[in-house]
Amino acid sequence: MDRAPVLEVSDLRKSFTHRGRTTIALRGVHLAIGHRETLALAGPSGSGKTTLARCILRLIDPDTGGLRFNGIDLAALRGAQLRAVRPRIQMVFQDPMAAFNPRATVARIVEDPLRVHDLVPRAERRAAVRDLLARVSLPVDIADRRPHEISGGQRQRVAIARAIATRPDLIVLDEPVSSLDVSVRAQILNLLMDLQAETGVAYLLISHDLAVVRAVARRVAVMDAGRIVESGEASQVLAAPQSPATLAMVQAVPRLKTVA
């Protein structure tokens, strides 16, 4: 990798205190993602993947640790400065239905990032939305529909259209296909890979589904109890897992039996 990493996380720590009890969610996480790279974050529920993603997106604040994005200290930004950086890091959520304002139309959902950051003059926004919908292979007439009127696969495409609208350098994909039908998953994953090849965007892919991780990610980091316990090339790590957490996950994957 000859370019500087898009995202660099060093010794990130985060704990939550609720009614006097403290839970440590992140115990010093280190990772880096480069341009046009997909790093998968795998691990059982409760391992801290979601907390890590939320820290990276600055939805919550880490306690200590380094968070550098394109060389900027992301953890130090606040208010308007933080909002100014937002176009560079976007997210696709697990449940597309929950990720949209129920009263919004597809057009408004996709237009929001363009409008909020004034990236496109008002007169050209409708056309820009049309282009984005076409980029994710959605029919143009879907623009006036509402999220509950379209299928799960289409909803996720809308979410992707919204995420790429600002041409981000990094997109956090939080279980992007887990809530979709099996037959639709390949299309969405292929779309994501196409977009990466076109634009050079980096992905942080969170997935509990190791098959998806192996198919789409070059590198994987396995989390367990707030720490990264194993990382490396995805196909290698999954073929020969070293840590107990990875081993348990690999052994837990159901295998198709074709002999009666």
Partner: protein
């Protein structure tokens, strides 16, 4: 709107809306069909209802047409009820959203204020307020709203607290929306739905409180209202009970219609949720 259509499809919504529409139409067209002062004397006193076509519902002690008084009374009742309900909902929704969205000290302060108002029975609060400010339409509206706003405030706050944690709010933050825009566009407008279903209850209560205030002589003296009609009829209750019964029935029908409309609204919202 789809909700309106869905409401009409439910029997309750259709009945409620039907009656309310008639009421509103009657109230709006009153000056057209019955020009002049409703409190003007038009005929002999205490004519029974349905006995004379000139005064379909009879006349009161002073010879004023009950029909005319009833329809003009509708104007005041609806005006006061709707305005006070809107005010209560407006104040409540604002306070509740601010408390829920900002949390912390803002939430604490606003909630203590809300509780303070809630501990005083609404009617007594209105009574006390009117006694101090004097009866006039604007003060009556305010008096009723003061007693009614805590409930929508609580509901709005509860909705906002739950909406705050939802993914689409996080998505709005990730997109980079300004917190104020998130508060209004993403949260407030979505929090309103349960608050609006409270509207029917508040309107119904407002109708009754206004009638009670008028009955006690604390209503606007220049206006005829159903409450004042009932109060007037009190003195001749034995001999001409219709003077109190007719406006009383009007109150019952109105409150019932408002309740049915509210239930139709809730059913329509619920049905749409299942559809989605």
């Amino acid at each position: 709107m789809k909700i309106l259509r869905a409401m009409i499809l439910t029997g309750e919504g259709a009945a409620g809306l039907g009656v309310l529409t008639c009421l509103v139409l009657a109230a709006l067209t009153a000056p057209l069909f019955f020009p002049g002062d409703p409190l003007a004397i038009v005929g002999p006193p205490l004519v029974s209802p349905f006995s004379d076509t000139a005064y379909p519902l009879g006349t009161d002690r002073l010879g004023r047409s009950v029909t005319v008084e009833l329809i003009y009374g509708a104007r005041t009742t609806l005006l006061v009820a709707i305005t006070s309900a809107a005010t209560a909902l407006g104040i409540g929704a604002l306070v509740g959203t601010l408390a829920g969205f900002f949390g912390g000290i803002v939430d604490e302060v606003l909630m203590r204020i809300t509780e303070a108002f809630q501990t005083i029975p609404a009617f007594l609060l209105s009574l006390a307020f009117i006694s101090v400010t004097g009866p006039a339409i604007p003060t009556i509206v305010l008096a009723i709203a003061l007693g009614a706003w805590p409930q929508p405030a609580r509901i709005a706050r509860a909705e906002v607290l739950s909406l705050r944690e939802r993914d689409f709010v996080a998505a709005a933050r990730v997109v980079g929306m300004h917190p104020l825009e998130i508060a209004v566009r993403e949260i407030l407008l979505n929090a309103l739905t349960p608050v609006v279903s409270l509207a029917a209850v508040i309107v119904a209560a407002a109708v009754l409180i206004e009638a009670a205030l008028s009955f006690l002589g604390l209503g606007d003296p220049n206006r005829v209202t159903w409450g004042s009609m009932i109060a007037e009829g009190r003195t001749v209750l034995r001999g001409a009970p219709f003077l109190s019964i007719v406006p009383g029935l009007a109150l019952v029908v109105t409150v019932l219609a408002v309740h049915l409309t509210g239930r139709g609204f809730v059913a329509a919202i619920g049905a749409r949720r299942i559809e989605a």
